[in-house]
Point group: C2
Chain length 410, copies 2
């Protein structure tokens, strides 16, 4: 395919106008929305109103007048609609890491005769780091972390496993688990499931209720476009609410926070998973960013994501570039919205692509990630990314000595 | 004093221009900066640049290019200068509640043969709620929470106490502890100290290093003016760094977060107290808000705070209003930057004052809080607040039936 052919696909794309809702830098192919989603244009005006009319003018009264106090539940329910959760089961708060801690502690309390947190080797590390942190706090008699290779997960689900902690779409290779299937297996063996949806929420339809998932967390700043370090979300199925307790029992999770009673009494339902005062700037930005989901269904977004990534994979295949291999599964039902390519010189290639204003990222040791947002990426982006990749590999631009020193964030 | 007299004090005040750095609503006496600090004017432009040039244009590259990745340490060190902490001991992250959890767990690990978290009856509840949460997780053999009345704190410091958790300035009555004295006593009995500075940081000089404090937390959205739900800070004295570990071991506290190694290795120093991805909108707003502290010393701010609150207390005393009593200590060295008055009808009085655009707040069961910010409050505010209080009590406006139903946030 020539670059013109990609432009023609864009011209025929009925969803091409979705991109206009976002501010994007000119002359740039941004394929890193799975690290940081782009800025929905209207967020600026919403934040300016927050600063001027809410914080600046109405000040403390804004907690009631502008509904700040309800934001965690309101934004939680909006995200709930994107992940297939009926209202009252999702709240928006803290970071993914903090929320994983809350839910793992909850899971252990719900399974008092089991001690193991089972996770997958090579999953996004913060989840297992936090699991280790909880295990270190509780001691091995009460909590141990076990990591199994993907192929051995089912057999590792023995009667010691309290909770299976998995990322639905792997951050490195973009492969995707069958949530319903693994959830059913885990539950049949007596374990709970905690799914990290950071690389899937907002990019594809999810059905947490229908799949009978117990717990989930996810990220606000990737496919939800909530802005850098946006608050995260957590889901707990309603059937667990009555028995659930969590140790980060800050005042915002209290039944009557503003009574300032000496003893903690958890709020009803999912609100007991709140801890401290929510960061209103970040939460209002995320709330506004979610508006773009009102224009389109998740089925439409997923179809567009599959088409974009298919087009890119086909274009890269056709180039037959030496040393480069596709690590993301080819079948749509086995992957997310990113394409990961492996190469021994992946770091230099990533930097050379970025110099050509094709923004991708590197994941150690050898992965180049091309993250496609179904909202704002185009077929032309797939075409330009493939062409730039060919150029970088053909010219050897990736061997530039400037790329020997890695940045802090890569 | 007549209202003119207060205006004359303002005209003679060499620091009166500090107020011009803030956006404040017209015709309003805002005395709730101890709940939510006012908006420093320049924050709007800084946030707009963050949205437009950083998130919108430079996107993921902003983590390096605009120093997002260093914000927790940079903002932490700026706050460190306000609380008397040498660089490298303060980081900015998460909420006060989450940070209390991290540091209490650290304290118990540093005192493995002790089990008690000692706190004060009537302190801000989130601290004891979180202490309870940790105790519930660990079990009573490893952790118990004990709350003592203020007068009994010293005698309660027995050899079971691992950590003394206290708020320096009480949120309800505005009374202030002698940090150096209680820290020395606690340490002499083998306990660590964790001070919550939410109602003091930014309002008066603090000397954490000189007072030999072990640990501290504080709030970004009160006297630091960082905006609603601004990120909080935590301090750990350098002498504890090597031995300190904390259970919320998310990826941002890892020695090499972007290597994505399977095992958690804590970062050197205070950075190991980071957990998930920091909320950049909130942290940039707080960073910008701190600029106002470059114009003035904390000694100057404290002197102004004492003068404003003295003036207000003297004015209220002179009114001799029936049923109203001062609960804040009169002596400057025993109080913070708020004046608390008790009255059986405190809730209605608070609402009636707010209707007269004197913004104060209610703390159950019977306290009206008048929080004076040394940056933007004026002597005229003290005069108008006293006059409004007289009017509300004389007319009985506080008995309005509309005030029978309390708001969510009061």
């Amino acid at each position: 395919m020539r670059l013109d052919d990609f432009d023609r696909l864009d011209a025929e794309d009925p969803l091409r106008a979705l991109r206009d809702a976002f501010d994007l830098p000119p002359d740039t192919v941004y394929l890193d929305g799975n690290s940081l989603g782009a800025l929905p244009r209207h967020v600026r005006a919403r934040i300016d109103r927050l600063l001027t009319e809410e914080w600046g003018r109405d000040l403390i009264a804004s907690w009631n007048r502008h509904g700040w106090i309800d934001l965690p539940q309101r934004v939680g329910d909006r995200i709930g609609r994107l992940v297939g959760a009926a209202p009252g089961q999702v709240t928006c708060a803290d970071s993914v890491s903090v929320n994983v801690f809350k839910l793992l502690a909850t899971a252990l309390a719900l399974r008092p005769d089991r001690q193991v947190i089972l996770t997958e080797e090579g999953d996004f590390p913060t989840d297992s780091y936090v699991a280790e942190g909880l295990a270190g706090l509780l001691g091995t008699a009460r909590c141990r972390v076990r990591a199994a290779p993907r192929a051995d997960l089912q057999s590792a689900l023995d009667d010691e496993v309290a909770v299976l902690l998995l990322t639905q779409v792997n951050f490195r290779d973009g492969s995707r688990h069958d949530v319903a299937d693994l959830t059913a297996t885990a539950q049949a063996r007596g374990a709970l499931t905690l799914w990290d949806l950071s690389h899937s929420a907002g990019a594809m339809p999810l059905e947490l209720d229908r799949w009978n998932v117990d717990m989930a967390v996810g990220c606000g700043y990737k496919y939800l476009n909530g802005g850098p370090g946006a608050p995260a979300f957590l889901y707990l199925a309603e059937r667990h609410h009555a028995a659930a307790s969590q140790p980060l029992s800050g005042w915002m999770g209290h039944r009557r926070a503003f009574d300032f009673t000496p003893a903690y009494e958890p709020a009803a339902g999912i609100s007991r998973f709140l801890c401290g005062t929510p960061g209103i700037l970040g939460m209002v930005a995320l709330d506004a960013a979610l508006d773009v989901f009102d224009r389109v269904t998740l089925d439409q977004l997923r179809a567009r994501s599959v088409a974009l990534t298919d087009t890119f994979m086909t274009a890269v295949d056709a180039l037959a570039l030496p040393g480069l291999s596709l690590v993301t599964p080819r079948e749509a039902e086995r992957r997310g919205s990113q394409v990961s390519l492996a190469h021994a010189e992946a770091y230099g290639i990533t930097q050379a692509l970025i110099e050509q204003r094709v923004i991708v990222d590197f994941r150690a040791p050898d992965i180049i990630r091309f993250g496609f947002s179904p909202f704002y990426n185009r077929y032309a982006d797939a075409g330009r990314a493939a062409a730039a990749l060919e150029d970088v590999l053909r010219t050897g631009a990736y061997r530039d000595p400037r790329f020997a020193q890695r940045n802090k964030v890569t």
